[in-house]
């Protein structure tokens, strides 16, 4: 295809969802069909990006205008977003959600796509802020008091973080008279520290991202799936992009990758609540994406698919507490879906979680290897909790009709995505994850199954979250200086 057509497609991929979103509000009857069309369009666009696999830069207006950059990395992230949005749409198809819900869903989809193609600090800011607003409206859709509080807390934390980001962007402009990502290389250290603080908080990374577990676990199942599968990656993507464009910040991004992988998994192995365990595990998986930014796209895709599936399944489980779940057997098909997803995320061969893990492990720097292997072991331990749930002759559960089509889409995507990195299937590569999983299960059976440690939640209170932000900022400043 020629260049102009590709550029036009990029612009359409951002503009059309927003247009469709407003149309839904004006013409509520077409809500689900318009949303479906938008999702399919994004899938097509993402596949085209992956297929052509050549980076394209697009400068709108003048040298001070908007910069867009599309390549395979954005392709992977957009594909993740499209598939997760479609799955959530299928799940909600027969529920009586109002047109307002679909409006927000589609607008959110468009802005997340926008964040995945932009390459300057200001367009990124706009995309991130609109993402916050749409997410807030989706979280508060049930209108209950708790959902309002969770939404407000999210909006507050992310807006404060974005204010710091704005100061950083002003400093970058002052130094280089440009907002492009590449101008970070000559920026003063305080600018990099401020921008990173904003994005780390937004992306749920390390201690400044501890707002995430509560937000993701207390939302409704489809909204949790969307947040954990796609939306959270708007904070991760720019960090990965920085690491690839500006070599000075690469070690910083990798360090945060390892640290957050360990932190998340450390909480996840002790967690007794299914949805909170999944949310903490999201924190740890985002670390895997950042630990090897050059192959982060594939990891983000597999994580998005699997986590969306797990959150949707967690929504139909009879209880959220693992202790109760161990008492009552699950309906067999649900157990199968749960087991497939858990196997994929633990890195079991035949599912694409395996390929993604092998690829990430291959691209680590030597100092990262130990930390990431411990994190992988922790993943196996925490998902043993799901795999070893009893299944069997439970009475058939009534699930929403859209549930199985959503799960089929996500798990099918996991199987097909295997083809992206089929070179992973060698003996040496296969044995290591199997050993990790076996060891993880053994540890689970011997130790973690009986442990009843309840980690304190005090650090997740609102004021501590804001306080942690300032601590992260100071720490980042020292890290950039040295």
């Amino acid at each position: 295809m020629n260049g102009n057509l590709l550029d036009l497609l990029t612009l359409l991929a951002i503009a059309l969802p927003l247009f469709a979103g407003f149309t839904i509000y004006l013409w509520p009857r077409g809500d689900r069909y318009l949303a479906l069309g938008t999702g399919l369009g994004s899938v097509g666009y993402a596949l085209q990006l992956l297929w052509s696999n050549s980076p394209r830069e697009l400068q709108l207006l003048d040298s001070f205008g908007v910069t867009l950059l599309t390549d395979a990395l954005s392709g992977f992230f957009i594909l993740t977003n499209a598939l997760v949005t479609l799955a959530v749409l299928f799940y909600c198809w027969n529920s009586n959600k109002s047109a307002f819900f679909y409006t927000q869903l589609v607008i959110l989809h468009g802005c997340v796509n926008g964040a995945f193609v932009c390459a300057d600090l200001m367009s990124l800011y706009v995309a991130l802020e609109v993402v916050s607003i749409a997410t807030f409206l989706l979280i508060t859709y049930p209108r209950s008091d708790r959902s309002l509080w969770i939404g407000l807390r999210y909006l507050f934390v992310s807006n404060t973080a974005m204010l710091f980001y704005l100061i950083g962007a002003a400093l970058v402009y002052q130094a280089n008279s440009s907002f492009a990502f590449t101008s970070l290389s000559g920026a003063p250290p305080e600018a990099i520290a401020l921008i990173f603080m904003g994005l780390l908080t937004k992306g749920g990374i390390f201690v400044s991202g501890l707002w995430l577990p509560l937000t993701h676990s207390e939302s409704e199942a489809p909204v949790s799936a969307l947040l954990s599968g796609a939306v959270i990656k708007v904070g991760i993507f720019p960090l990965a992009r920085f690491a690839l464009l500006v070599s000075e910040v690469d070690p910083l991004v990798r360090w945060f990758g390892v640290a957050t992988a360990l932190l998340g998994v450390g909480y996840a192995v002790f967690e007794k609540d299914a949805k909170r365990m999944l949310a903490f595990h999201t924190v740890s998986q985002l670390g895997f994406v950042l630990a090897a930014p050059e192959v982060g796209g594939f990891y983000a895709l597999t994580h998005g698919l699997v986590k969306a599936a797990l959150f949707l399944i967690a929504g139909v489980l009879p209880s959220r507490n693992f202790k109760d779940l161990q008492q009552q057997p699950l309906h067999f098909p649900i157990w199968i879906a749960l087991a497939i997803a858990s196997f994929s995320i633990s890195g079991f061969p035949l599912l694409s979680g395996f390929g993604a893990k092998v690829l990430t492990m291959k691209n680590l720097l030597p100092w990262q290897v130990i930390g990431m292997n411990i994190a992988a072991l922790g993943t196996a331990i925490s998902f043993a909790k799901f795999i070893f749930l009893p299944s069997g002759s439970a009475p058939a559960q009534t699930v929403k009709p859209g549930f199985w089509s959503a799960i089929a889409l996500l798990l099918g995507g996991l199987l097909i995505a295997n083809g992206i990195y089929y070179e992973a299937y060698t003996w040496g590569n296969t044995i290591k994850p199997l050993a990790t999983i076996a060891l993880g299960w053994l540890l689970y059976y011997v130790i973690f199954r009986r442990l009843a440690i309840k980690l304190p939640r005090v650090i997740e209170t609102f004021e501590h979250l804001i306080g942690l932000m300032s601590l992260t900022l100071v720490a980042l400043f020292w890290m950039v200086l040295t």
Binding site: L152, A170, S177
Partner: protein, 111 residues
């Protein structure tokens, strides 16, 4: 000199978010902080000159850099819409928690 005041505004806003006990006051403190950030952009724009950059008028002297001004205009709009949205949320919360004490709200919604 102006720079010091701008950063003082940002800091005061941030401390307000951190230390005020009332959710409503926290939202207002966030607005103070964002005012500081906006002022900083105006300051960055005026590094090279003071005069309004308008096409067509004969140049009176060194004019201000239009890019940060244009950019912060977007941020102002986004900032105030988020502010409005949050105040609506706070209003709704205040029906159940009339004092809007943040500790009380968090206590009520501990899962």
């Amino acid at each position: 000199m102006v720079k010091i005041f701008v950063f003082a505004t940002i800091l005061v806003g941030f401390l307000g978010i951190l230390l005020k006990k009332n959710l409503f006051m926290k939202v207002i403190a966030m607005d103070v902080m964002s005012t500081g950030v906006i002022a900083y952009y105006v300051l960055v724009a005026s590094r090279v000159g003071w005069f309004t950059p308008i096409v067509g008028t004969p140049p009176k002297g060194d004019y201000a850099d239009p890019v940060p001004q244009a950019v912060i205009l977007t941020a102002i709009v986004i900032g105030f819409s988020i502010q409005a949205l949050m105040l609506v949320g706070v209003m709704k919360l205040s029906r159940e928690n009339p004092t809007l004490e943040i500790h009380a709200i968090e206590q009520n919604h501990q899962p």
